[in-house]
Symmetry: C2
Subunit: 341 residues, 2 copies
DNA sequence: AATGAAGATGCAAACGTTTGAAATTTTTTG
DNA sequence: CAAAAAATTTCAAACGTTTGCATCTTCATT
């Protein structure tokens, strides 16, 4: 790793002052044309790259943004990040992406690090642990600095900050309504991990819809998963051991729904004849599997874009107003073969 | 956004010098016990966060790493990033993740930015455009600085640097061999975009295996896709219009394979009876769809881990030795229902 | 009481860049 | 040719932190 060429190095070489070099490289008008050209050529030749670190120190502006998410290893989360990126990159911002792996300790550590790196804003999708335990101390340093904080995907109701989420409640509601409308009477739910907003909102959409249509909520029809496809089969088997078996399963996401479908087929049951399936997230693949999967589409990219836009708007106004800024994007049911005869 | 509290602020408040504050906060032994306690308490109270930017400038060490990838919106790429993260985070590094969207211009811009931000190393999966055009000027500034550069996933043979890739060639070869061994005679390939190593290595594995087993390579059986599930149906239809139709399709990845499966089913053909299907990447979902998809597993997380480890090793040795460092991880065929009767 | 040794704190420089103001050089003008 | 104007360059300070060295206290030892 060679030491990078600095403005001082160039100044020494040309027997002029660093100011002159700096101005020449920035096309300052008061620099002599020849000087400018010579310096620029030389700078290019030796591969001079202006040191952004020193500039950040000088301007107390880093043009970087922290993004803290539990995982990036799935379609939806990474779509959010692409959304943020697509809005903020043209404005010159760099993203510092941190993956907490659903752990509070890592989340707290990353936030300290981001503050220490003087990011100009933080997008946070809180980890499951943070949620479960209601921790928020690590966030107080953010608000102490009055730094823009925007919750993405998962709103953290214990803490005042902006948020952009998807309307999980109505998405789930419409999924279950669709099943009821198709004549299903015994609708099971493969729930996500307890405590997460995403999980609970979908669960509430599920229960509310059942109740409002005169059904009872049967606890034995609700079983937890951890969102992953591998976590679906065992709970599904338990559902199929019930008498009578459910005639529909609403999965907390497409992965879980797909995991359930396999078990159902293996048991020799037919989808949708014996059991209807609905997922959530609308993975690109879901439209192509057999039977194609009815799912609730959740616009990850738009979440990212909206959050980034919220951040930009904050730059021009009172930053505390973020706290009253809550955007909820609609989710949309897409009906496919897995739920209709 | 409040101005962050600085060491100078604290010094002013306590009528002492910044040096004392700095030493107190760093538990320097020559600081009086009371002074230390008072200063630390106050610092905590006002939420002091040491300014990492100034430290970076002072030490010319930023502890940050650039990661440049064409997209993060899929399972494999994000697995790589998680792998890198898992190794480098414990060592105190921060990741700067940049998404090029397969565009050379963005890639070049990001690299300038990363150099300017004084990252200590760059992990790069070159964009398709860079590959197609053989551009490498943007990389020369990296080597001019003698900064560790490691190609991940896609090796860029035109340029000397370390690399960690997956053995796409033998993965593809084993997939096709499996099809030949199962008695398939007319094996089509849904290829990726031309020019990418990933695409071409898999393609070569396909053709070499065919030739070595006495088959001809029939151009009409090879059609391009863009890796996405949506890009598979149209080429697949063209394959099914051939007379005779192929009796097996090797997809460049699972998404394409799944896209093909849908078209085949829609035509009333049976998988694997009429046509066998093999994919690549082994998505978690692939084991759960029906029929479950035979696929070549590619260890994304391990790629990331190996690349990160390569970077760490470079710190303790001659950095130019990276250029002779090439790790190729094995891929593994996983046989499932879509290819065996 | 003088000497010296710890113990505690301050000074100043450094990292790389920018920028207002001052200084220098060159050009123009009367 | 002198004076003013314009063009070009340099100076110095600033951003926040660390750290070797110098300085200043305090206190014990002779």
């Amino acid at each position: 790793m060679n030491k990078p060429v600095t403005i001082k190095d160039i100044a020494r070489k040309f027997k002029c002052s660093p100011s002159t070099v700096s101005r020449a490289l920035n096309n300052h008008p008061s620099i002599n044309e020849d000087t400018r050209r010579n310096l620029q050529e030389y700078a290019k030749k030796v591969g001079y790259q202006r040191n952004q670190v020193s500039l950040s120190l000088l301007n107390t502006r880093t043009a970087s943004i922290g993004v803290v998410v539990p995982t990036i290893n799935n379609y939806y989360e990474s779509a959010i990040i692409e959304g943020i990126e697509s809005v903020l990159h043209p404005k010159g911002y760099t993203l510092n992406i941190c993956v907490t792996n659903e752990q509070y300790l890592l989340e707290a550590e990353y936030i300290v690090k981001l503050l220490s790196n003087r990011v100009e804003g933080i997008f946070l999708s809180v980890s499951q642990e943070t949620y479960d335990c209601g921790y928020y101390e690590h966030l107080e340093n953010i608000s102490k600095r009055n730094l823009p904080l925007i919750f993405i995907d998962r709103d953290f109701e214990g803490f005042a900050a902006g948020s952009v989420t998807v309307d999980d409640y109505h998405g789930a509601y419409s999924a279950v309504k669709h099943l009821i409308d198709s004549g299903r009477k015994r609708i099971a739910h493969l729930k996500g991990p307890n405590g997460l907003t995403v999980t609970e909102h979908r669960f509430k959409g599920y229960t509310d819809c059942l109740i409002q249509h005169g059904f009872e909520v049967d606890d034995s029809l609700v079983i937890n998963t951890n969102f992953r496809v591998e976590s679906a089969p065992e709970p599904t088997r338990r559902l199929l051991d019930l008498k009578p078996i459910p005639d529909a399963i609403f999965g907390v996401n497409d992965q879980v729904a797909i995991g359930a479908m396999k078990v159902i087929r293996d048991k020799g049951l037919k989808i949708p004849e014996d059991i209807a399936i609905v997922g959530f997230d609308d993975f690109p693949i879901s439209a192509f599997i057999s039977p194609s999967l009815t799912s609730v589409c959740r616009p990850g990219r738009q979440v990212g874009e909206a959050a980034a836009q919220m951040f930009l708007n904050l730059q021009h106004q009172n930053p505390t107003s973020a706290k009253s800024n809550h955007i909820v994007l609609p989710s949309q049911l897409i009906v496919r073969e897995s739920s209709v005869l």
